[in-house]
């Protein structure tokens, strides 16, 4: 078999799982189109996280394929046709799982990284 090897973007693996979680979280507030999702993540992270557009859409495709999102076309606040995404019940459960895992991870890393008392 000659499976074509995908050109891996450095660091994208690391980002992937996290971005998925961020997107799901962004949609917890309600249906949104891609641009809004990117803006929400940026704003909520105090502009620390700049969502790379090149990763957002593949992530949306992937999440929808897994059944965590579904999408529909609607008119945006700017009076433009845009594709809106919303969480499915399955996606909501996934988000809860991931949030929990994330919290555990942050706590664990925090524990490791806490100042060492000599």
């Amino acid at each position: 078999m000659t499976l074509k090897k995908k050109a891996q973007k450095p660091g994208s693996d690391l980002l992937q799982g996290t971005l998925d979680m961020l997107v799901l979280q962004a949609l917890r507030l309600g249906p949104a189109h891609g641009y809004t999702i990117a803006r929400v993540i940026e704003q909520r992270s105090d502009a620390f996280l700049q969502v790379e557009q090149g990763s957002l859409y593949p992530a949306l495709n992937r999440l929808e394929d897994r059944g965590w999102l579904d999408s529909y076309w609607a008119t945006s606040e700017n009076n433009r046709r845009a594709r809106y995404y919303r969480l499915t019940p399955k996606g909501r459960r996934q988000l809860e799982r991931e949030s929990e895992q994330w919290a555990q991870l942050v706590r664990a890393i925090g524990l490791v990284m806490r100042p060492i008392e000599e």
Binding site: G34, T36, E52, N61, S76
Partner: protein, 886 residues
């Protein structure tokens, strides 16, 4: 998976979505005070390349297996299109092989595999008997009266019935509505055993089915519609059958199909049924019934067989047997019993088409191998560039798969065409109970054949290709090595094999052809030109009296002879090429118990003269041989050779039953159909006794007229068409209620007798021809590819001064060597195979030197032609160009 198929549409949607993203971005930037053009630029810059993103998503949605399969398929189609010659040859080869198989399998399917058209056909049986003696064993189906009635009255495990012969009879449904119809006599319970109830009315009661019972008749659906317009009130109506009155008691449904393997008039449907009235004397004294039985519910075959075996003593109590012979009663499955005679020829035929298919596969394998070797460079290049072995094999398999499926479709079409052709060729000489058609079973077998062929024969070159040493392959291909033929031996073996198989098939076809020609060209023993025959059924109550019969003969002959252009006319019980009555006789000087068997026919004066049969000694029959004059007979030379060898037969006396006759003349032999005894061919000059029609008894006539229909033979100077109305008028002029059953020329009678032989021969010859074509393609392919592979070598030879003739020789000789080896192997195998054919051969030995020599010469000739044609390419070689090529 869903996304895989929809990804084209999804991609377009994604593009629109991203455009919307950009637009929103631009809106925001403008709102933040940027000028429009800068906003657009900035948005684009930040967003990145939408096409690249879409491509990434597109990839995400793809399935690798499908992807590669589609690519392989596309590639395969492109390869096949680029080599139209190869593709055409491969498709023809596969099409022929699979087509022939499809057609023959359809026939086999209809005859041997399709169940009988009755409910629960697997529980239907024929009553059979086994005769065992120290000299051997004999297994037969059929019953006599005692056997059948024993089973009917005693067996608890089976429900039994019997069917007698089917004969053509005269029916008078109303005044001036005479018809010639096929009557079958069946016992009470016949329809119940088969499991088909009458559409209207009822079947025969046991009371009707015994001597002296009411004369009842059941009509076929066809006859009911034809004569009574489907009127249900026909029940109770009286019709005149054979001059006797019968009451209609039932009508069978249209779906009731009748098998008539036991009728003398095969190929005609049954129009009506009358009670069998079985007896242990006369007809029932010999094995003239077919006993059928249905196993009762819950009874196994073993139980039924063992019960019947216990009834053997009673069933055969009337048989006079030698003390060392034991006969036991048994059962065979009805389908098996009905197809017993056909099984062997059909299986042979199937064997023949299987050989054709093997040859076709061999060709395909050869073609693929050849292509594999010409594509060595392509393959090693791909492997050198990192393509895996598996990828190469997969690619080659997909190619041969595409080829096989296309070939399967071509085969199906060809098979359908062949089947139509077979039907026209006279497939109806066999008895069918199912229409022959391409059904799903045939389809499955055909496609399975194609796919198995593809896998096996596609794999072989693929494996060979994948074993290639990349470095050697590249360097060999690169420098066009001089004679790198080390890996061609599998192809050579294949060519040897297909030539050998072709020889076997062609020799079989040749032997059957010689048999057919032998039978056809037998000296008829009479002048067959311009002789028309017309037969009528005299199985009729009005014709039990010999005087009536002879009045009919004399009067009609007087009228026929008066027709202008008629040169002679006579009547006989049996026509040339037809089967004749078997009868026992003894010489007067021998004790009456010592009977010999002969064929027999009654004839009127004028019969021999009309046929122009030569008189060898004594005299022919004349008008002065009457019922009052002394009994006489004319015999033929075959009779004399068999029973009066070296003696002078004229004046000698023979006895048949209580009647004594003097042999008054000897005539030349006339070809007759199968004898029914002894070891005679389908057409042969049988020993025969001819007695005057005037010197027959009522009992004799009644008996023989149930089996045979007398025929008028007329020699005319004019055309058959012109004679026909006059002939009809002459017969109807004497008896207006006597319909003519059949009008044929003597040549047509011969054709009817030989129909099965002709059918088998045409079929095997057709297969032989296909095999020849395929073998030629195989040899041609081998030589052609060896020429193209050796182009460089041949160019060098030419450049070094070899003549074109020498170069061609170098190419052709290997082909001829292979063909010769193949012919030798095939010839040896044919010697073994033709022994199996022995029972189908007449007038030719299974080792007929002429056939063997002709096939050998034919195949070597074809091999030579198939080698020379591609070798001609050598003549067009320009050494300079060749050396520079590649």
């Amino acid at each position: 998976m869903r996304r895989f198929f929809r990804r084209g549409r999804l991609d377009a949607e994604r593009a629109r979505e991203m455009q919307a993203h950009l637009d929103h971005y631009v809106d925001d930037l403008i709102a933040a005070g940027h000028p429009r053009d800068r906003a657009i630029r900035e948005a684009r810059r930040r967003f990145g390349n939408p096409a690249a993103i879409r491509e990434e998503i597109y990839e995400m949605n793809s399935l690798p297996v499908f992807e590669t399969l589609l690519r392989d398929l596309r590639y395969a189609f492109r390869m096949l299109r680029k080599t139209p010659g190869f593709t055409a040859v491969a498709l023809i080869t596969l099409g022929l092989g699979i087509g022939a198989n499809t057609a023959v399998f359809s026939v086999v399917n209809a005859l041997l595999l399709e169940p009988l058209p009755y409910p629960q056909p697997e529980r239907l049986a024929l009553i059979s008997y086994d005769a065992r003696s120290p000299r051997g064993e004999n297994h037969s189906t059929g019953s006599d009266g005692q056997m059948f009635m024993t089973v009917r009255d005693n067996a608890k495990t089976v429900d039994a019935a019997a069917v007698g012969g089917t004969t053509g009879v005269n029916l008078l449904a109303a005044e001036n509505q005479a018809a010639y119809v096929q009557q079958q006599r069946v016992s009470a319970g016949y329809f119940r055993v088969l499991g088909v109830a009458p559409l209207v009315g009822r079947e025969f009661t046991p009371e009707e089915d015994r001597a002296g019972g009411d004369a009842a008749v059941i009509l076929s659906h066809g006859l009911w519609r034809r004569l009574f317009q489907g009127d249900p009130s026909v029940l109770g109506r009286a019709i005149l059958l054979r001059g006797e009155q019968y009451t209609v008691v039932g009508v069978m449904p249209a779906s009731f199909e009748v098998t008539e393997r036991h009728s003398f008039q095969a190929g005609q449907g049954v129009d009506l049924w009358t009670p069998l009235r079985p007896s242990t004397k006369g007809e029932g004294g010999g094995v003239n019934y077919s006993g059928i039985a249905r196993l009762r519910d819950g009874v196994s075959w073993t139980q039924a067989r063992s019960e019947l075996q216990q009834l053997s003593g009673q069933a055969f109590s009337l048989w006079q047997m030698q003390p060392d012979v034991t006969v036991t009663l048994g059962l065979v499955s009805m389908q098996e019993g009905l197809t017993a005679d056909l099984r062997q020829p059909l299986m042979m035929l199937w064997g023949a088409v299987a050989i054709v298919l093997v040859i076709a596969c061999v060709n395909i394998a050869g073609l693929l191998l050849a292509r594999g070797s010409t594509r060595t460079r392509e393959i090693v290049t791909r492997m050198a560039l990192g393509s895996g072995r598996a990828a190469v094999i997969r690619q080659l398999l997909v190619e041969s798969g595409v080829l096989a499926i296309a070939g399967g479709v071509a085969g199906l079409l060809l098979g359908w065409g062949a089947l139509e052709a077979l039907k026209r060729l006279g497939l109806d000489t066999f008895d069918f109970w199912q229409p022959i058609r391409l059904d799903w079973r045939v389809l499955v077998v055909t496609m399975a054949t194609a796919i198995v062929t593809s896998v096996i024969f596609g794999l072989m070159p693929a494996m060979q290709a994948s074993r290639l040493d990349v470095q050697a392959g590249l360097s060999e291909g690169g420098t066009r090595a001089v004679a790198g033929a080390a890996n061609r031996w599998p192809r050579k073996l294949l060519v040897i094999g297909e030539v050998a198989l072709g020889v076997v098939l062609l020799i079989s076809a040749g032997l059957l052809l010689r048999t057919f020609v032998h039978l056809r060209n037998q000296n008829p023993g009479f002048d067959a030109g311009d002789v028309v025959t017309a037969s009528v059924s005299l199985q009729d109550a009005r014709y039990r009296d010999p005087a009536k019969v002879n009045y009919l003969f004399t009067e009609t002959l007087r009228k026929v002879r008066a027709i202008p252009g008629v040169q002679g006319a006579g009547v006989a019980l049996g026509l040339p090429y037809e089967r004749l009555l078997n009868n026992g006789f003894s010489k007067i000087e021998d004790p009456p118990t010592e009977t010999k068997i002969t064929n027999q026919s009654y004839v009127t004066p004028g019969y021999f003269e009309t046929l122009r049969v030569p008189l060898r000694a004594g005299r022919l029959l004349t008008d002065s041989d009457t019922s009052e004059s002394p009994g006489v007979a004319v015999v033929n030379e075959a009779f004399v050779r068999r029973y009066f060898k070296g003696e002078h037969p004229v004046g000698r006396r023979i006895r048949s039953g209580s009647l004594e006759r003097e042999i008054v003349g000897v005539i030349g032999d006339i070809q007759q159909g199968s004898a029914g005894w002894g070891n005679f061919g389908p057409i042969s000059p049988l020993p025969c006794v001819y007695i005057p029609a005037s010197q027959t008894s009522s009992g004799f006539l009644t008996l023989v007229h149930t089996w045979f229909q007398p025929s008028w033979v007329v020699r005319t100077g004019g055309t058959v068409a012109a004679l026909l109305p006059d002939l009809e008028r002459a017969i109807q002029g004497v008896d207006a209620q006597l319909p003519i059953a059949k009008v044929r020329t003597v040549t047509e009678v011969r054709g009817d007798t030989l129909a099965q032989q002709q059918f088998m021969m045409s079929l095997v010859a057709g297969l032989g021809f296909i095999a020849l074509v395929l073998a030629a393609i195989g040899i041609h392919g081998l030589i052609a590819s060896s020429v193209s592979e050796r182009t460089r070598e041949l160019g060098i030879r030419l450049a070094l001064g070899a003549t074109a003739a020498q170069t061609m020789q170098a190419v052709i000789v290997p082909g001829l060597v292979l063909a010769t080896i193949g012919v030798a192997i095939g010839g040896a195998s044919a010697l073994a195979v033709s022994r199996l054919l022995r029972s189908f051969l007449w007038g030719v030995t299974p080792t007929d030197p002429l056939t063997f020599a002709a096939v050998v010469i034919l195949l070597l000739g074809v091999a030579l032609a198939a080698s020379v044609i591609p070798a001609m390419r050598v003549l067009r070689l320009d050494p300079a160009l060749t050396l520079r090529a590649e």
